[in-house]
Point group: C2
Chain length 365, copies 2
């Protein structure tokens, strides 16, 4: 007799959703010159957040507030909802794990887009759920067919990211609102809005906070430039939010992260500046794509999918050539999106390097 794992665990591979850039650096035995692959924000956190966190470091002997009270209240004010409509967690990754755990039992159906966020799929598999994947349509999440698949499979969760990763496209607010209108009440729409801080408000769907089958995921990892601090939050109807209290790791948040996120919320000038910088950098990367006879997918995020106009084998070669030149980028992994490479916006010096090596990477592929 030996230790017996659960049936679900026995069926899981010991795999990682992503290999991190540090692991690649160790393999290459070289440090990346440009880190523009993980949709992190090179513009860093707001100076207000940096100062608040540096001050808080000496208080890290104290556990963080398990209720995330101050942060939740500030977020509630920002989103004009009750604090009871918000749960804070260890990044969207952590919150997606909790959400799947709340709802998915072995064999339950879940619908997502083929090639959408792999960490969501990792959690669904991890709790024994059954994934049904719908292809992108013109590099955009196909809401109509996603809904059809939900109805066909009686799915318990539908995952939609808007803007989506890895293509950076969006659906219109009207299209999302229509999806919600037609969605069975027994299906929860998990709307991953990690990149929505880059959107103008008129492109963000208007969803009643009392909608009983929608939860929206937000993060400080993207526009706020705080990926390494692991602060995400979900906005939803009070009963959904309350259920997280049953299972979440109540003392899971770092104290310095709570303080940093709170201070960051207080710095709108910074966020507006980031959005402007992201726009300029995106324009520059798009121009580089065009001047190398490639196309680009119109993006609403801090990354751009560059269409290399050949197949996945070619795109993978381009990616590998860039990695060899110490430029960290990634690529979509489903067909036909994997004809592209995905480049996160960088500082001028990062884009300079990309501009220099992209033509070489193409030529040598």
């Amino acid at each position: 007799m030996s230790i017996k794992y659960t049936n679900i665990v026995d069926g899981l591979p010991a795999s990682v959703p992503f290999v991190g850039p540090e692991a690649q650096e160790r393999t290459l035995n070289q440090v990346f010159k440009a880190r523009i692959g993980a949709n992190e924000s090179v513009f860093g956190p707001s100076l207000k957040a940096v100062m608040a966190m540096q001050k808080e470091i000496i208080k890290t002997w104290q556990y963080g507030d398990p209720e995330n009270y101050d942060l939740i209240n500030a977020l509630a004010t920002k989103h004009k909802v009750s604090p009871k409509n918000i749960v804070v967690g260890e990044g969207i990754d952590g919150l997606l794990g909790y959400l799947v755990r709340l709802i998915i039992q072995k064999g339950d159906n879940v619908v997502t887009t083929d090639g959408a966020y792999p960490t969501f799929n990792y959690h669904v598999n991890g709790y024994g759920g059954c994934l049904h994947k719908v292809p992108f349509k013109n590099d955009t999440e196909d809401l109509e067919n996603l809904l059809n698949k939900v109805i066909e499979t009686s799915a318990k969760i539908l995952y939609v990211s808007n803007p989506n990763n890895p293509m950076g496209t969006i659906n219109t607010p009207k299209a999302i609102e229509k999806l919600i209108e037609n969605l069975p009440k027994s299906t929860l729409l998990c709307l991953d809005e990690a990149y929505s801080d880059f959107l103008p408000t008129n492109l963000i769907p208007n969803i009643s906070i009392n909608q009983s089958n929608v939860i929206r995921m937000r993060t400080f990892s993207k526009a706020y430039g705080m990926a390494g601090l692991r602060v995400g939050y979900a906005i939803g109807e009070q009963n959904i939010i309350l259920n997280f209290e049953k299972i979440r790791n109540h003392f899971g948040m770092c104290r310095v992260s709570q303080v940093g996120a709170l201070a960051a919320l207080d710095d709108n000038i910074f966020i507006n500046d980031v959005i402007q910088k992201v726009g300029s950098a995106r324009k520059r990367i798009s121009d580089i794509a065009l001047s190398n006879n490639c196309k680009f997918v119109n993006s609403y995020t801090n990354f751009i999918a560059i269409d290399c106009l050949k197949d996945d084998v070619f795109a993978k070669k381009v990616l590998e050539n860039l990695i060899k030149k110490r430029i960290f980028v990634r690529m979509p992994y489903s067909f036909p999106q994997n004809r592209c490479i995905r480049v996160t916006v960088g500082l001028d010096k990062d884009i300079d390097l990309f501009e220099k090596y992209f033509p070489i990477a193409l030529k040598e592929s």
Copy 2:
């Protein structure tokens, strides 16, 4: 039709394992003068760690290394094991959650001590496990009866903390080693050694790293003074450790926490100094107990259970009186340990306050 949660989730209360001191402060509308209730380390993190973290803050736009490579390698060196014997996670709380998820299915039996760590119980309930609790014996975890209960229930996990919380007592290395010898190979011993950094090495059990049914939990939250950074790790045989890869939140660690923990490992002088300060403070608190005609339980940790020599109603009154005086302390919650209050060691100014208000709290109870 509405959103359907899992059967397990439907049966769970929306409860917290602990109410945090911040929530108590909000209720009291006052800030605690002495925070000596959560077994945090008032001596804070090492200056080396503080400096490393303050420097890292500006790099928090980057995700942490999902492999925790540097930290795991440093820990492997420290413990003279392979990096494959170590998994790093979001505090012991996070790791306990993963461990329970790996092994416990609905109805599986788990054995622990009545009054031991509630967050472990929270996770067991959260995954549908069935808890069997064995009383303390002379305020010490009763290894003999724990083993009997394991055999009686064919338990899949046995939780033992050593030193234990909330009493601060230990079992001898020999007793722990004997327990392991007699434990069924199908039962995993989860040995929570959160407080073992306070022990002299001759009081730490010697367990083969290839023992297939033991996992040891360690943390940076106690002696290292970094509770708010959420860094725990588990040491065990490689197959157990590998299983965590299947389900853990790979990008769950904060970058600043990884860097801080790594730097802290490099500062033995600091840890030795903390251990000495904890010893002195413990002595002072014990003396205060005696001079107030109370007893104390001999502790191997950074807290002391003070025996108020009456019942739980009395102890609870003493606790409440201290809280009113803005001294944050806690108490055990199972009989007969709940005749005590639990006081974490503090700075001199904290203990001065305790010394001043403890007699009043007793008198008014």
